[in-house]
Subunit: 212 residues, 2 copies
DNA sequence: TTGTATTTCAAACAGGTGTTTGATACGCTT
DNA sequence: AAGCGTATCAAACACCTGTTTGAAATACAA
């Protein structure tokens, strides 16, 4: 029987939550089914039973609704494109870095950028491609229609690269500055920097060749 | 007997070269000693015999001399700091992306940023910390002494983040643009963009608060 | 309560990993 | 050629991985 509170649905939910945690912490490959089941207080066979395989568990653990909702809210915000870029960067950084309110699926996505798994196709299709489309439009609003397609893409990559650096390089930054921790305030300061830095960069790039 | 061309030294060298290839392609964990030995045309036991362990092989495979030489040459170059930043970014990108003349140890380093292994401490100490120091001085020359330490660091991260994005996100970019390939010319175009973008960003940041 | 389908469990399985072993082959000096 | 230390090799080892198995427990309808 399909019922939200059945025993089966409860372990399913616990497994998904544990999987998001473990996958985002250790990466898909280093994460073991046994640790996920330990955290979910379930038997090792539960993953195969409920999701078919470890791959299937990852596919169901991914949930980009928050990411999409963030973009939709951004589009509907009445503000200058520069302000909306700042908002986007802040929300994106919070998803990537905030330990309490962050989005594990987004952190999984960040990991998969460099280390593909069978789920990467789904991630690209459902999360990254729409994200690029959204960000492309936003950058174009700032740069003006005169900007070339290649330059627009490079500006997008400059922004995403700055954001993702703090997640990807976290182990290194932690070693260089052991007392480092990302409070909400620090994340917002970083986001403000990236936004300022990037707007100046975009304006400079768009002012060099095109008609602005 | 210790001799450069002895049979032992030959397989040692072949193992190191194969290891750099495989580690930079698959990452340390996914790389198997069996594949490394296959490529080096050596027996599986050769790794343990010559390097003690897979960890030991990685430690010896790392060689940041090219990275250091690049920084030294940059320092000795007589040019504006903006020009030297452009040079640094170009050389760094070539090491990260150029398939024929790139530096496998640098690509390994890029991978390890996100996925630490026992070698990360050595990498941070010997490669990343000096790199940060070098880049910090260079950015300070552009920004002026008025820039705050925190802002200086964020500018450095903005630059490194942009550079590393193209390596980290390569699997995704490949999926989004299947015909993508990094020729030397394209790498130099990307480097020029990052340099222009970043100089504008640094000038904007340093002009906001400090005395420049 | 009885019967049936679903869910859980300990145990085992098959495959891959890094590493070790002991014998064999090799290079080099005497 | 004989002797010796080094290097190579096939084979095995111990461990960990995702997955499967078949029995036991549970939930639920009749």
């Amino acid at each position: 029987m399909i019922e939200a509170n059945s025993a089966s649905e409860q372990t399913r939910t616990r497994l998904l939550e544990a999987a998001r945690e473990v996958f985002s912490q250790h990466g898909f490959q280093s994460a073991t089914v046994r640790e996920i089941c330990r955290r979910a207080d379930a038997n090792v066979a539960a993953v195969s039973y409920h999701f078919g395989s470890k791959d299937g568990l990852l596919a169901e653990a991914l949930n980009f609704a928050p990411l999409k909702a963030m973009q939709l809210a951004n589009i509907q915000t009445v503000a200058s494109p520069e302000m909306r870029l700042h908002l986007f960067i802040r929300d994106f950084m919070l998803m990537l870095l905030d330990e309490t309110n962050g989005s594990p699926p987004c952190r999984i996505m960040a990991r998969e950028l460099a280390d593909p798994t069978p789920a990467l196709d789904k991630i690209v299709r459902e999360a990254i491609a729409p994200l690029h489309e959204f960000l492309g439009k936003l950058v174009r609003e700032i740069a003006g229609d005169g900007i070339a397609e290649a330059e627009l893409r490079r500006c997008m990559y400059s922004i995403l690269g700055q954001c993702l650096y703090y997640r990807h390089s976290h182990p290194v930054l932690q070693r260089l500055h052991p007392k480092l921790r990302y409070s909400r305030k620090k994340i917002e300061a970083i986001a403000a920097h990236i936004a300022d830095f990037s707007v100046a960069g975009i304006r400079h790039i768009s002012g060099k060749t095109g008609a602005g």
